[in-house]
């Protein structure tokens, strides 16, 4: 049988799988005939694991054993804001794993996020296999454009655990544009407005017959349909507490009921003018009386609850348009992606903002999976091609002295690209530099996501500022980042591929594959799935090499303890800006256990001393610059903002 490749939209709330066959693209329904399956994993009492819409029903009975919205956590550090937020609202237990990774505690077991996502992906794979009657091992998986490198890597790892060879990680808006424009012979400029369960993305593209060029992309990873639900939950819970004096949030069972009701209300408001929310007997009062929630919400009230959230999306749209050097009048169309965009209030607001009605003929829940399937087909078949010219959604930066991060490649730069910036040493006769790689839009290093770091020592030793080190970032069309450092004078080089931090090391992934935990997943499909090739089907051998080079994680760990030395950006960082102690980004707040790296070589402390106060800095200043690293180690150095 011919080899096939599927397209998967691994959504925060729902996932969808699609395939291109015989020139047309179709969504593959699950065993119940549904186009999308909930991205929910339920760990049942009998040890079985169910995924999909059946699992979602489990939330009410066993909230702590049902994992949902895990996409919000994938590829994140435990100390990140997003994880903190999730811990506050999620009914399952989120705990800290090795290297500040995130784990989900289910009874006595801990699961990494790639493992949980792998269960969802496996379900989608099984759905496709049952429908097609053949093994599927190749897929294009769509992720939000605004996903950083860590999140993309983690998603790749998830696919690998699920037994899928990822042909490409595709940006959701790009996929949507493909589904909209592929084979249509259009020449248009379009905006893709993607409001998912947990994230908001906007991309501006130019669509040609066979070339899809992303002009700009922007997003907000803290904004999605779930936030709309939360507004309704808050309303109901606050009113309930005011009238009955009972906090529904404190009772997991009641809270889950409330959540389900709020989500349903939102969904119904996509179709109806008003909804009646009724949750009879949601909780029993202290006097033993069964209390109920009853509330009428119409479009107007719902609008006023969420309008500020909608307005926030347009701020992001402003950014994207500005970055593409366009105005709304230059656009030919607006494509909607994501369930929440069904809401009339969103459609109206989008229409007002873009001064044109959005496209409504493609299902916003299916458009991404369809686009992914189109791309998957063009990557397995040379004939039917559409070339995607994508951009890098986030700036790539290098950590420099003073806790700052200097941009090497700006966001919205087309890829593949290579850019070089020249840096210099910070200290006389400095022997090593630590090259830290960040992704994000903050000038402060700690405001960005750390992708990795490596040490470069093969340069000539000279006075500070005399050594010129060219640091080159290259991003290939798969989005892989390669960083090379080179001493201009000697031509000596060192480089590293940045593929890191899914929270899992290579050996951990192998362990997971060996243990086959995810095999306990009971597909929600009927018997014929059982006869379809089992989910633990072949892993493409070459996939092993694509992911997580063994040494990358070690680099990070080793160097944390090392005597890090700062780079100083050639021209862009005037000494006046160098603040205080060189801060290490390895120690974000909430991670106090991290070994505080020995920092602040004498010379850097002297520069710091000029700007800051402190006896320690003075000592360092008086110390012998360029000798051993000064004894000055500042342990309690919260960076002054």
């Amino acid at each position: 049988m011919a080899e096939v490749a599927i397209g998967i939209d691994l959504g925060t709330s729902n996932s969808c799988v699609s395939i291109m066959r015989g020139g047309s693209v179709e969504v593959i329904p699950n065993a119940y005939g549904e186009a999308t399956s909930a991205s929910v994993v339920a760990f049942r009492e009998d040890g079985e694991i169910t995924v999909g819409n059946a699992a979602k029903a489990n939330i009410i009975h066993a909230p702590s054993l049902t994992v949902y919205s895990s996409k919000r956590l994938i590829g994140r550090y435990f100390f990140s804001e997003e994880v903190k937020k999730a811990r506050a609202i999620c009914s399952y237990r989120i705990v800290e794993g090795p290297n500040h990774s995130v784990r989900i505690q289910i009874r006595d077991d801990q699961y990494s996020l790639p493992e949980v996502s792998a269960m969802v992906l496996k379900e989608m794979k099984a759905v496709a296999e049952a429908h097609l009657g053949q093994t599927v091992t190749k897929a294009v998986v769509a992720v939000p454009a605004y996903f950083n490198d860590n999140q993309r890597q983690a998603t790749k790892d998830a696919a690998r655990i699920a037994g899928l060879d990822v042909l490409r990680i595709l940006n959701e808006p790009t996929a949507a544009a493909l589904a909209y424009g592929f084979g249509q012979g259009l020449t248009q400029k379009v905006a893709v407005y993607d409001l998912g369960g947990g994230t908001f993305d906007i991309s501006v593209l130019e669509i040609g017959t066979d070339v899809f060029e992303v002009l700009s992309t922007s997003g907000d990873t803290f904004l999605g349909g779930d936030d709309f639900d939360d507004r309704v939950i808050d309303l109901l819970a606050d009113e309930f507490s005011a009238s009955h004096g009972v906090n529904l949030r404190k009772d997991p069972y009641a809270f889950e009921k409330l959540k389900v009701a709020a989500e349903n209300a939102k969904k119904n408001l996509s179709v109806d003018d008003a909804v009646e929310i009724r949750i009879p007997g949601i909780i029993t009062s202290e006097s033993g009386e069964a209390l109920s929630v009853e509330r009428h919400i119409d479009q107007g009230e719902f609008s006023s609850l969420v309008m500020d959230l909608v307005m926030r999306t347009f701020k992001v749209c402003d950014e994207a348009l500005q970055s593409a050097n366009l105005t709304v009048r230059d656009l030919d169309g607006v494509i909607l992606v994501g369930g929440p965009t069904r809401l009339p209030l969103i459609r109206k607001a989008v229409g007002d903002y873009f001064q044109k009605s959005p496209q409504t003929d493609i299902d916003p829940d299916e458009v991404v999976a369809k686009g992914a399937a189109i791309h998957a087909a063009s990557l397995t078949d040379l004939e039917q091609g559409a070339y995607l010219l994508d951009v890098t959604p986030l700036s790539l930066r290098i950590g420099v002295a003073g806790g700052l991060a200097e941009t090497v490649i700006e966001r919205n730069t087309p890829v593949p690209i290579e850019q070089t910036r020249t840096f210099t040493t910070f200290q006389d006769f400095q022997e090593r530099v630590k090259i830290r790689v960040y992704q994000g839009e903050s000038r402060q290093a700690e405001g960005n996501e750390r992708l990795g770091q490596f040490e470069f020592a093969s340069f000539r030793k000279a006075r500070r500022g005399e050594v010129e080190i060219d640091v080159t970032f290259s991003i290939d069309s798969d989005g892989l980042v390669l960083v090379t450092a080179c001493d201009r004078a000697t031509g000596q080089q060192a480089s590293t591929e940045i593929t890191l931090s899914s929270g899992l090391s290579e050996s951990e992934i192998e362990d997971i594959l060996e243990r086959g935990d995810t095999d306990r997943v009971q597909t929600a499909s009927p018997e014929d799935v059982g006869s379809a090739p089992s989910a633990d089907a072949t892993l493409e051998p070459e996939a092993d090499e694509d992911l997580l080079p063994d040494d990358s994680e070690e680099d990070l760990e080793e160097l944390d303890d090392g005597d890090a030395i700062e780079l100083m950006a050639g021209v862009e960082t005037p000494p006046a800006e160098l603040r205080g102690n060189t801060l290490d980004m390895d120690e974000p707040e909430g991670a106090p256990d991290d070994p505080v790296p020995l920092e602040t070589p004498a010379a850097s402390a002297s520069a710091a001393g000029a700007a800051q106060d402190g006896a320690a800095a003075r000592d360092a200043y008086l110390g012998d610059a360029g000798s051993e690293l000064a004894a000055y180690v500042d342990n309690d150095e919260p960076e002054s903002k």
Binding site: V211, L382, Y387, I409, I417, E418, S477
Partner: protein, 181 residues
């Protein structure tokens, strides 16, 4: 450019890449419009997109990747009028590659120089406008810069600066009266 290059041509092109300027990389003339630049980028991308060439052997794929990267590099500089002007200047001095950061820095420098004006009267009134601006007198700054612009009707930086000053004035006015409806 033809869409398909013979494998030997790919290797040859990758080899001489450093000798080509960005216009040659994109196969266009130095005077072409922004639209032509974009179209050339699309055409080159069709020919050199790694996806379209993944059936080739490793050497050729590497060559293709190098060419594709340079094509994007050329495009990121030439598609932006400011960067393109900066590049053109450097190209006249024999520099055929330019990092984006350098292009931006150079463009800024060019802008500063040109904002001072090229004619005696242009320079004089532009200087007055700068003084007015630093005093916070936007109305006078706008008047003087308008005068400067009459001596140098082709100076885009005067125009940009004027726009900027008018926007600032508008913002100031709003700040005082609240947002006009």
């Amino acid at each position: 450019m033809s869409d398909v290059l013979a494998p030997t041509e790919i290797l040859a092109l990758a080899k001489i890449l450093d000798e080509l300027d960005y216009y040659q990389v994109l196969h266009i003339g130095t005077g072409v419009s922004a639209t032509d630049v974009r179209q050339a980028f699309h055409a080159s991308s069709r020919a050199f997109h790694p996806d379209a060439n993944r059936h080739l052997d490793a050497d050729h794929r590497e060559a293709i990747a190098r060419i594709a990267t340079r094509v994007t590099e050329a495009y990121t500089v030439l598609r932006d009028p400011k960067r393109r002007r900066a590049y053109d200047e450097a190209l006249r001095d024999g520099q055929n590659r330019m990092q984006i950061a350098e292009a931006e820095a150079r463009a800024e420098q060019q802008a500063t120089v040109e904002l001072e004006g090229a004619t005696p009267n242009g320079r004089r009134y532009s200087a007055l406008a700068r003084q007015d601006e630093s005093r916070g007198d936007l109305t006078a700054a706008i008047r003087n810069l308008q005068t400067a612009a009459t001596f140098e009707p082709g100076n885009v930086h005067f125009k940009n600066k004027l726009q900027q000053l008018r926007a600032a004035q508008e913002a100031q006015r709003r700040g005082k009266k609240g947002f006009p409806i």
